[in-house]
Amino acid sequence: MIKWWKVVCIILLVYVHIAGLIVPLRQGVLSIDKLRCDAGEVCDISIKVYHGSYTDDEPIHAYLKFDTSYYLAASRVSAVSHNELQARFHIPDYLPSSAEAIYPSLLVSTDSDGAITLPRALSLAQGSETRQDLGAALWSKEGRPTLYAKEYLAFPYRNILVETLRCLYYHVPMWFAMMLLFGISAWQSLMILIKKDWHRSDRVYAMNAVGLVLGLLGIITGMVWAHNTWGKFWSWDIKQTTSAICLFMYAAYFFLYAGVRDEMQRVRLTSAYNLFCFSMMIPLLFLIPRMMDSLHPGNGGNPAFAQDDLDNTMRLVFYPAVIGYMLLSYWIADLYHRVIKLSREE
């Protein structure tokens, strides 16, 4: 007998894995080869683009944009390849600012693909002799170009993250599913202790086993992600540390389970330990990392599910992924519970 939620689970997971891996990323500027240019010089910049489709057949525009209203157009932009552009800027003698250096953004635009940007792309330096009024006149000469962002089905492009963005659909739902299983097992333990429903203990064991596996997978996917974005598999970030501690706690549960032979005694002791672990886990995972300096999204003042990180296209995959992984993990735990029960009856 197949229950309806199992069908939902399969459909959601198939959808999540196809959509999450196939939908492309938007175009974006990966990097440029210059860090600084001086006022008054000719600045040749080689621009590397992600997912570009540039050719010389269509005119390409590039701009340096400063302070929302000042645009400096490139005098010549040519496509070296689909993903590489060569742009030449004639930087005027004065900059539209009284500061010695400004950090303009770089914009690249074509009529068919729309505009992409690299914020604070490089620094432009002028001497200590600044003329803001002259600079303003020189920079806004050509007026504000008309730019648009092309609308198509794609995940947002984020600097540094790039393709690792997709990790969100797998890593985060795994932790959510683990929390669900540990939550259910804590509830079952509570019922065991209060109502003396001894038969629930196999369920607790199954939930914890599957939850621990999900937690391990979560920490491994997190490490792979961290390797690509933070630079190291393990950087002793507070979130990494506390989640590893939580996994150690739950791993110890199984040793306790194996260490008590008397059935009644075992059920009581493991349930009490399980509840104790759960109550220690909540502050470790959700309180302490939020307060301390952490690189992890959602902690230490970093954004997580705000508009900046999760746009509407990603929500279309992320929410189904959370539900799908929760259902799948519950399903696996349920099957494992039945296996344990059967092997006990034999």
């Binding site: 008590v260 509840l275 220690m280």
Partner: protein, 218 residues
């Protein structure tokens, strides 16, 4: 709760410690031995290593102490306890005596490390506050895990394996706090970390207080 009874029980626990002074003494001796052993191999540890040695040795001594918390009595004695006392009362007595004993171990470790290498501690007030609060937390967690362990088939193995992950957060915060006292870490977050440690103490002691009812039965 009957406070006179509780007080009697705490006093009785100290008396019991005194009667089993060899078992308590063995933990103290273990602590000094391990300091000696580490410093034979590593005679002039840097600040970072000093702090590390202190916490590693403290956690292992504390775990070794915890194995014997509930094992001082004979099994007949224990049956007598089951009938006579509420489990919380017993646990509370163990918590109080454990805090004092762990503070003793912490001081002993600190002094012997200082005697055999050098004195890195600049702010003794902060060091003592950190040691006091972490002994309180360690005793709360360990007296609970030890109750679980003592009822299992192999108390030593089980109580050490379930207590180590649970005391990891205490070490995580504690090494920072004593690090501040020896000018190794940024002192700005000291009060905040003390607060976290206090929060862990509250959660652990609350959890133990409730759950010990279900554990300490036969």
């Amino acid at each position: 709760m009957n406070w006179t009874r509780q007080w009697t029980l705490i006093k009785y626990d100290f008396l019991l410690d005194f009667r089993h002074r060899f078992s308590i003494g063995s933990v103290l001796l273990y602590a000094v031995f391990s300091v000696f052993l580490c410093l034979i191999a590593y005679q002039d540890p840097e600040l970072e290593a000093w702090n590390l040695l202190y916490w590693v040795l403290l956690s292992f001594s504390a775990v070794i102490w915890s194995i014997n918390v509930y094992a001082k009595e004979t099994s007949e004695h224990r049956l007598y306890y089951f009938q006579l006392l509420r489990p919380q009362e017993l646990w509370l007595a163990k918590w109080v005596s454990g805090t004092i004993f762990l503070l003793l171990i912490a001081l002993l470790l600190c002094l012997s490390l200082m005697a055999l290498s050098y004195d890195p501690i600049i702010d003794w007030r902060r060091q003592l506050a950190a040691m006091g609060l972490s002994s309180l937390t360690l005793a709360a967690i360990l007296s609970f895990t030890s109750a679980i362990g003592s009822l299992s088939d192999s108390p030593a193995v089980v109580s050490s394996i379930i207590s180590l992950p649970l005391i990891l957060p205490v070490l995580l915060l504690g090494q920072y706090l004593t690090g501040v006292a020896m000018d190794l870490r940024d002192p700005a977050a000291y009060n905040q970390y003390m607060m976290y440690l206090a929060a862990i103490t509250v959660i652990a002691s609350g959890g133990a207080m409730v759950l010990i009812n279900f554990v300490w039965k036969n």
